[in-house]
């Protein structure tokens, strides 16, 4: 018996495990490689932009930084506005589906929201121009009339409603299904044990959600929001179609002068760009890359600071 054990316990290498774990490792590394390739591509193509001749920049700008500054601002501004609108609503929807709606309805409702994810960005663009902007324009007029003293609502109001605020709404609608879907799955996974613990303490449904569901889902909510934020930062066509852009840093939300976003600016100017112009546009893409990097570092820092309290295990 001892000898049998000796041969069986000292195993041959387990090929399945080796192959599988290497495959996952390769896949993970491949992602890094692709990202590195994209980064190198952007970096190499960007270099000429930093030393470009002042005449190459359109408008009044004379160097890359004054060119890209307003674009970075616009990108972040629109994305943050979108996130502010989308995240609470998405959490609300996810909760509605996971904890409020009658169980039989919930599945169908989830499907309905997923439908939004199916809408291509061009259609969001068309809808933004044709339906949303004309619809909100009168509200904008009222806002400017009544609250014009509040800087972001200062006039003159846009005649078409195609402002950064409208863009933010469109972006919010676009990222809503992404955030909702992930939050929903996470909320549904909240351990029943913890929900029961809260309810048994005499918590109302909302208090139970505050106590058990939301804290458990927090890292997931942040991840989902980052995914949504990434989409909002990088969205190209819908923004290009809806936004009425200009080249300055503009805080006003309701005028026809709006800071453009980086992705939209590339889409607008790339077809006619030549020479260093192309490099300048790609350099703005690199800047977007850097912005995303920084934003994600912040998000990671937040998640990690609460790691010990995460719901896992």
């Amino acid at each position: 018996m001892t000898t049998v054990a000796a041969t069986t316990i000292k195993a041959r290498q387990r090929p399945g495990d080796r192959i599988f774990s290497s495959a996952t490792l390769i896949a993970g590394s491949l992602i890094l490689a692709v990202l590195a390739a994209v980064a190198i591509f952007l970096l190499v193509e960007s270099l000429p932009a930093f030393v470009a001749d002042p005449a190459e920049f359109s408008g009044d700008t004379t160097n890359f930084w004054s060119y890209v500054g307003p674009l970075i601002f616009g990108t972040i501004y629109a994305a943050i506005l979108a996130l502010i609108m989308a995240v609470p609503v998405a959490i609300g929807i996810a909760l509605f589906i996971s904890h409020f709606a009658p169980r039989r309805l919930a599945q169908g409702l989830g499907y309905l929201i997923d439908l939004l994810a199916a809408v291509p960005s061009v259609v969001f663009g068309l809808w933004g121009i044709g339906v949303l902007a004309p619809l909100v324009q009168p509200f904008y007029t009222n806002l400017v009339d009544w609250f014009g003293w509040f800087a972001p609502f200062a006039g003159p109001v846009s005649g078409t409603g195609r402002t950064i605020f409208t863009v933010a709404i469109v972006l919010a609608v676009m990222i809503l299904p992404i955030i909702t879907a992930i939050c929903r799955e996470i909320f549904l996974q909240t351990p029943l044990l913890h929900e029961e613990a809260a309810l048994a303490l005499g918590a109302t449904r909302w208090e139970m959600i505050r106590m058990a569901v939301l804290p458990f889902g927090l890292p997931g909510i942040i991840s989902a929001s980052m995914l949504g934020l990434g989409r909002a930062l990088g969205e190209t066509m819908a923004v290009a179609m809806v936004l009425s852009p200009s080249r300055e840093v503009i805080f006003q939300l309701l005028t026809s002068q709006n800071s453009n976003t980086i992705a939209s600016n590339i889409a607008l100017n790339f077809p006619e760009a030549n020479g260093v112009g192309v490099n300048i546009l790609l350099a703005t893409g690199l800047m977007l890359f850097v912005v995303t990097l920084i934003v994600n570092m912040l998000a990671r820092a937040i998640i990690n600071s609460r790691k010990a309290f995460s719901g896992a295990n």
């Binding site: 359109s58 408008g59 121009i129 044709g130 902007a133 004309p134 324009q137 003159p156 846009s158 005649g159 078409t160 409603g161 195609r162 290009a240 179609m241 936004l243 009425s244 852009p245 200009s246 026809s256 002068q257 889409a267 607008l268 100017n269 790339f270 077809p271 006619e272 760009a273 030549n274 112009g277």
Partner: protein, 337 residues
Amino acid sequence: ANEAAPADDAPASTLTGTLNGAGASSMDAAQQAWIAGFQTANTGVTINYEPSGSGGGRKAFIEGGTDFAGSDSYMSTEELAGEFASCVPGTKAVDLPVYISPIAVIFNVDGVDELNIDADTLAKIFSGAITTWDDAAIVALNPDATLPSATINAVHRSDDSGTTKNFTDYLGQAAETVWTEKASDTFPFPGEGAKGTSGVVDAVTNGTNMIGYADASQAGDLSTAKLQVGEDFVAYTPEAAAEVVAGSPLVADRAADDLALDLNRKTTNPAEYPLVLVSYAIVCNEYADAAQGELVKAYIEYIASAAGQTVAKDAAGVAPLTAELEANVAAVLATVK
């Protein structure tokens, strides 16, 4: 279903192959009509025209990525000085005007159906010097209209575009005291921006107290302004647009077979509508790949022919080339190999 070759056609053409072009989006609708016409006659040929923008189109052509380019502007001298990858080394490419389209000044103002405007006033509106519809300058040109005292929302192209370049070129020449910016793809002043011709049309349609400029074929149901030419106010027509092109000289100091035009924006002849856009087909004098050269030649000949121009007029509302220009283009094409 529509992919199969027509069965009982007349003696089929011997041409076969795929031809790729790219460039100005303005001529995309016309290109689709030309492609359809050409492919119907030559069932073995597939032509793709990619409306990726004039600059992108020229760049792709110069680098050898496409067989021909469509462009709202003729090639710059730097571009001409360089190499053309699709052409026989050392040979150059030429600009051939094949597409003429009037640019309409479109507006959407409550209670206003007709609008007369002159170049100076137009320049002031788009540069932001005039901000309300009941400004004295506009009222003076339109004594009978009931103009509201509302803010003017002037829409320009937010993307770099040949339409903008022609529009600003017109203002720069016809209103040189007011419009001091030089012609460019990028609109130089603030205001409302919209992407693409259709974006501008949508913005003007959906907004209030709007004015904008767009390729005339896309104006649709929108009201269009009449431009003051000489003493008269001229509405755009294909004929008036073709007329101003016919009356324009070639750009000086270029190869004899390069038909780049120096448009006469300052015309005072009321038969002409000076706010036009001319698009060029850019082709090699001599193709490195002779078979491709033959295809390009056949295709552009078709485009510039009377038949091709009629197809484009029907499908895309463009102004046909005048007979004289047609002949000039044909003469150049005859030398292309």
